[in-house]
């Protein structure tokens, strides 16, 4: 009999890989405020969508990032995300991208981005 898909895991979700969504329920819940954000260290709110897309709003102006991620069978999440960057006048001056490896939501706080860079367009 097929299992009922697990819904919002709540504030204290079970740990481990979700058999339906294929990602750690902790990661789908909300990311830990204070995690490294768009290449900076700021409080942030992060959404992890079941199809492998990520969206983050960080606690600074224009602090929004969009990412795509995959989770391996051992639970490690590989994330790649991008964000536009602007100068002080609001003119586009490049973009920022970041690779990150996350072992779990509990340890994400301690794991910095693998790479983080700013490039001109």
């Amino acid at each position: 009999m097929p299992q009922e898909p697990r819904r919002n895991p709540g504030l204290l979700p079970a740990r481990g890989v979700d058999p339906v969504l294929g990602v750690d329920p902790e990661l789908l819940q909300h990311f830990i405020p204070g995690a490294r954000s768009c290449g900076n260290v700021f409080p942030s709110y992060d959404q992890w969508h079941s199809e492998g897309l990520e969206f983050e709003v960080a606690g600074f102006f224009t602090g929004v990032c969009q990412g795509t991620f995959k989770q391996t069978v051992n639970g490690i999440v590989y994330l790649y995300r991008v964000a536009w960057t602007f100068d002080t006048t609001g003119a586009l001056n490049g973009y920022r991208d970041e690779h990150a490896m996350i072992r779990s939501a509990r340890t994400a706080r301690a794991i910095p981005a693998l790479t983080s860079r700013t490039s001109t367009t």
Partner: protein
């Protein structure tokens, strides 16, 4: 009267069949006509109908039929949309945007439609867009059309 009744008995079921087929011919995010899905993260570039470059965006197409776009045109320029994939593989998007003046005060909105086709390798898509600009009272201001291309952004890059 009899002719009218027969006409209604013929037309109404036909309309219902067309309606049902219409509902099933478009579905969110579905793969259609053997084409790869548009679901994912993309780097898109927009061009005027005359060919001039307009702007770039990072676009997320979600599996539930929702789309979210961060535009490079200005800080905070975000758009949200809803889309369906037709049986022929084309992706139909309806997308809304608030506009702001130089002081950051909202001064209107844009109502945009897109018609996109994902390439057979799944790594790019291209299409057309039609944007209708409105003021804060909903009065139509002007329309802009053009084309767009996009390349997929992956975890592996």
């Amino acid at each position: 009267m009899n002719n009218q009744s027969i006409h209604h008995r013929t037309v109404i079921p036909a309309l219902m069949i067309a309606l049902v087929l219409g509902c099933f011919s478009l579905s969110p995010a579905a793969q259609a006509a053997g084409r790869p899905s548009i679901v994912g993260l993309w780097n898109a570039e927009f061009f005027q109908s005359t060919g001039g470059f307009l702007f770039k965006t990072h676009v997320q197409w979600h599996s539930d039929g929702l789309e979210f776009d961060i535009n490079s045109i200005a800080p905070g320029a975000v758009c949200m949309g809803v889309f369906k994939t037709a049986a022929d593989g084309t992706v139909h998007l309806h997308h809304v945007i608030f506009t702001f003046d130089a002081n950051g005060v909202v001064n209107g909105s844009i109502d945009e439609t897109q018609l996109n086709t994902v390439a057979s390798d799944g790594n790019s898509y291209s299409g057309t867009f039609d944007e209708k600009f409105y003021d804060v009272n909903g009065n139509f201001l002007f329309e802009a059309t053009g084309t767009l291309t996009a390349t997929r952004i992956t975890v592996e890059r």
